[in-house]
Symmetry: C2
């Protein structure tokens, strides 16, 4: 039988007769389905009793999810902690956090009897019981601090109504039932207290490298600030390294979150400032304040980044991120995104990031390289698109020139788009054949940009191609979205972390402007309307005046997948490697990677909801 | 336990100890997996002991497949008869009959021991055991005439290596092992005697309408001809109705196949000749003979069509196909396709079709309507395409004008393309929303064109749209394939059988030629090459001179899904309904039909091959 102990176990004084009741019911059921269950539950208790990953689901911290991933079983073990159980709750997953077409585990009670079941919601948000129960209840435990529910879910069930748990972002949803309900169907999903939380469920199984004995730590944290009572705040705080701080290697870092603020601190980043300025002003305030000195915009080199649900970040044992020493700025900028939807007032916070570093330099400096699209308006997305694709290339010609013969190793990646981004993937191609996914997020959200360790380190050699594809949704927009720096313009970027560091900082592309010009001419000639796409008008203006019928949309797609590109194969954002980089041919792909079809695992056990003895639930 | 009796059971004198041995082994295994099997085998014996559908697999008739479909179980029951078992056989399914990436049931023997297992072949044709055994062996029986293997396969297993059994054509493959093999992996799939057979596995469950007492029959059969000793022959034979034969209704027909020729008679059709000619010459010979009178080309109105594996065809009880009477030709043409790959000589044949007809006319005359694309070169497929899509429309405007207020009922359909056709589907759309698939074949083959009864009768009302989509493969072609009558030109047609008959014979479309002209201009201007697409050149010539880069391919696709269409809403092939039919807008679809995701059923039972006691197998 799986363990019913929770992790981080607070001293437990459970009313033992209830636990016994629950356990006995569970035993009775198991007796019935014993033969079948035995087959499936073999080794189904989580290895170790703990759930290493934890995230608050709601901003008040009433619901907390801990989990563990078993790759051999292709399953996730969940422990859901409910501080104050009313008449049940919903927990589940959906494509982008919506409550329609969602896959839900539901605990509901009519006040006397409680049930746990696997359900799905249709396009109207109506709940239905799944014909197969794939959220497999393993235990329930009442403790003084609240209720613990332990359940298991395989990544891929055989139920077409179920969510497929994949790498990358997973949109978790929750809802709290505040009134008794007599059946699952009676739950009105639009009338309940509910919300969403994004996490990377399938954390990679990383072996933690040995840490040196001379390791030191440094905390870059907010100086006991008051979190503004508004939904969204980006807080900026400037810190600095000691004078004459010599070169060190950052070898790991971890979040420092002020107790009680776990649900408010959404993500944090530490940036190093540009070395060309001798000093930077001290600043401690919102990043969008009029008082913020402009020079802070020159603090953009990422040293560390953390987002909710992430754990400590470890550099591979061969490499560290250089900081300190000559040619490196002493100034650091801490940026914290506070997400405070309930507009709490007067909350103090001293969160930040703890850097672990060593003076015993590792063999290699780690570097960061930017892949994807150049920030230029020639790459645009028509309005009203559901899933428009733009692709940025790092060509064989550039890697041939810029990478060492022994290649580089990519070990982490941070995907980046603006608000229309929905998916990002980078694929490594060699000799025209796609070889390996570098990083992929099919449920990417611009609101959840973590640096993610890769499951597998990716070796890139001279002559390899790195192809980054972003999918955008512009359904709610009425004019074209062009590439650029603005929040309503778009980007398609993958910041890859690798070693050994090279001079190549940027390997990105954009369509050749001459071919785009032919496109605007074609739009003029083919369509009956008269469109002003005269060359003296800016590219965004030309895009804004295109009549977006299906033909003009399709031909733009065709243009992007046919026209030659302008390559940015750069040492820094302004300095290109020597060579001809205009009108370069698009990489040709003769063999695509096969989408791995995950083999589904039907969950054994009852196909009906499980009754739970939680006692009488009270109405306030 | 499922019955081990075969259908049409010939007297059985099985060596009973062997049967007992097999049964005992089977029982031992069942004992082990009893609990699981009990769950799954409930009601798994075919209802009735018979297998109503039957087809020879190989041209010598050594292998014969009978089967039955259980829609409640979503499973097919197969009975494979092997006349002369050597050292095993392969039977399976694949996308288009290839032996690579195929899903196979394999019976193999090392001379002493025999095994039955579910396997798959990779892209190189190498066999591997499936991790789950989804061809579920139900029984094996030695009889004097040969071996019967009985097994079951659900439509959709949970194994991604398995073939999904769908409506429409299924490409069955078989192979005969003539030497002992020591393991599955040792089978060299390219070195064995093998072949393919196309069938519609999922026959619809039609209720047979009551037949009238005055029903008469008429056989239209070949007059004891000698089948030519060549692989492919289309034989033409002219028959005629009696003088002054009054109007009758054909209410069913069935094949008459000369015993022994079951594997050679591939398909047969009876056509009625055009009424405008008073007489037609008698003819009995190959259809492509120089001696065949030209006038036979005017015998194209289908009265009956049968293909291998098909059974009797029944008209719905409200309708019959009119023949005889004034305004109807007395002349009929029988066409038989003989497929004789082993080049047998001197085989006599009197196969044909038996028509069942009645003078008591049913309420409605049945009619045939042609949906899809007009036969014109403006609809073209670039060379080297894997899956190029062309779509033909029957618009709301045409159905509004031509259909009765009470609508029509489509009950059968015959899909038609030339050699590049790979898929055909017709969808019914109402108010811009796709409502129902009329007929779909995702594994369509131009070599297997049956009239198929629909699973569900489709009601079409004035204002509805019928959209027919064909997918073509031109990988092996070096120049564009244009629409037309030639065998290397293409068609996209669905002949739908419906009642009550209307004047609408043809509801088809093609792209507006003016827009195609703009396309050729655009190709000239956008691309750097100089292309001769001057208007004095014919459309096929213009297509043949397009340089087929990805841009020109994509833009042609965009054109076809954007440009207005020319509608043929015709009473007969030359007479249009009154109205404006040029430059019509493409139907807009606001809601697509969801592809039904069939729920997979994991097959219970052992995940390893099953040993079979077939005794020692002999080498010749």
């Amino acid at each position: 039988l799986p363990s019913m102990q929770s992790s981080g176990s607070k001293p437990c004084s459970c009313p033992s007769f209830k636990l016994r009741e629950v356990a006995s019911m569970y035993f009775t059921m198991i007796a019935v389905f014993l033969v079948i269950l035995v087959v499936a539950l073999q080794g189904s208790a989580p290895r170790g009793t703990d759930f290493p990953y934890k995230v608050p689901l709601d901003p008040q911290g009433l619901l907390e999810l801990s989990w563990n991933v078993s790759y051999p079983e292709q399953a996730v073990y969940f422990q859901l902690f409910i501080k104050d159980l009313r008449f049940g709750l919903l927990f589940g997953m959906s494509d982008r956090g919506e409550f329609e077409n969602a896959d839900l585990a539901v605990l509901w009670s009519d006040g006397h009897n409680s049930y746990f079941g696997d359900a799905w919601s249709d396009a109207k948000g109506q709940l239905h019981m799944d014909s197969q129960q794939d959220y497999q209840l393993l235990g329930a435990r009442r403790a003084p601090e609240g209720l613990y529910l332990l359940f298991r879910r395989v990544f891929s069930t055989c139920d077409p109504k179920d969510y497929l748990i994949e790498d990358g972002t997973v949109h978790l949803i929750y809802g709290i039932l505040e009134k008794p309900v007599h059946s699952l169907q009676a739950i009105n999903i639009s009338a309940i207290h509910r919300g969403l939380q994004r996490v990377q469920l399938l954390k990679p199984n990383i072996t933690i490298p040995e840490l040196p004995s001379d390791m030191k730590t440094m905390e870059i944290t907010a100086p006991n600030i008051v979190i503004p009572s508004q939904e969204t705040t980006y807080w900026c705080y400037m810190a600095e390294l000691p004078d004459n701080f010599p070169k060190h290697h950052i070898i790991m870092y971890e979040p420092v979150v002020t107790a009680g603020n776990e649900a408010l601190v959404h993500h944090m980043e530490v940036f190093q400032c540009a070395a060309e300025f001798d000093s930077f002003p001290h600043y401690n305030g919102p990043c969008d304040s009029k008082m913020k000195p402009d020079r802070l915009n020159y603090c953009r080199h990422v040293l560390a980044a953390w987002a909710m649900g992430a754990q400590a970040f470890y550099y591979p044992k061969e490499a560290g991120l250089a900081f300190g020493g000559p040619g490196s700025s002493r100034y650091l900028r801490l940026e914290i995104h506070y997400h405070n939807p309930l507009v709490f007032k007067g909350r103090h916070d001293s969160s930040g990031i703890r850097l672990y570093f060593t003076a015993t330099l590792r063999r290699y400096d780690a570097g960061i390289m930017e892949l994807g699209l150049v920030y230029t308006p020639v790459m645009a997305i028509p309005p009203g698109e559901d899933a428009f694709i733009l692709t940025g290339y790092c060509t064989d010609k550039c890697t041939q020139l810029a990478l060492p013969a022994a290649g580089i190793r990519i070990f982490a990646s941070q995907l980046h788009t603006h608000l229309a981004g929905r998916k990002v993937v980078t694929v490594l191609s060699r000799d025209g054949k796609e070889r390996q996914v570098v990083n992929a997020d099919g449920h990417y959200s611009p609101h959840f940009q973590e640096i993610r360790m890769l499951k597998e380190v990716v070796a890139v050699f001279p002559g390899d191609e790195l192809i980054t594809t972003c999918t955008y949704n512009t359904k709610d927009r009425s004019r074209a979205t062009v590439g650029g720096f603005g929040i309503l313009e778009e980007m398609c970027v993958n910041y890859v972390h690798y070693y050994p560091q090279t001079q190549l900082e940027l390997c990105k592309s954009a369509v050749d402007p001459g071919y785009l010009h032919r496109y605007f001419n074609l739009v003029n000639r083919f369509n009956d309307e008269e469109v002003c796409t005269c060359p003296q008008v800016s590219v965004p203006q030309q895009f804004f005046s295109v009549p977006w019928n299906t033909f003009n949309r399709d031909v733009l797609k065709s243009l992007y997948s046919f026209a030659p590109i302008s390559m940015h194969c750069n040492k820094s954002s302004a300095v290109r490697f020597p060579g001809e980089w205009e009108k370069q041919p698009l990489p040709t792909i003769t063999k695509r990677l096969q989408e791995p079809v995950p083999r589904c695992q039907p969950t054994p056990g009852p196909a009906t909801p499980v009754p739970l003895n939680l006692g009488e639930l009270r109405r306030d």
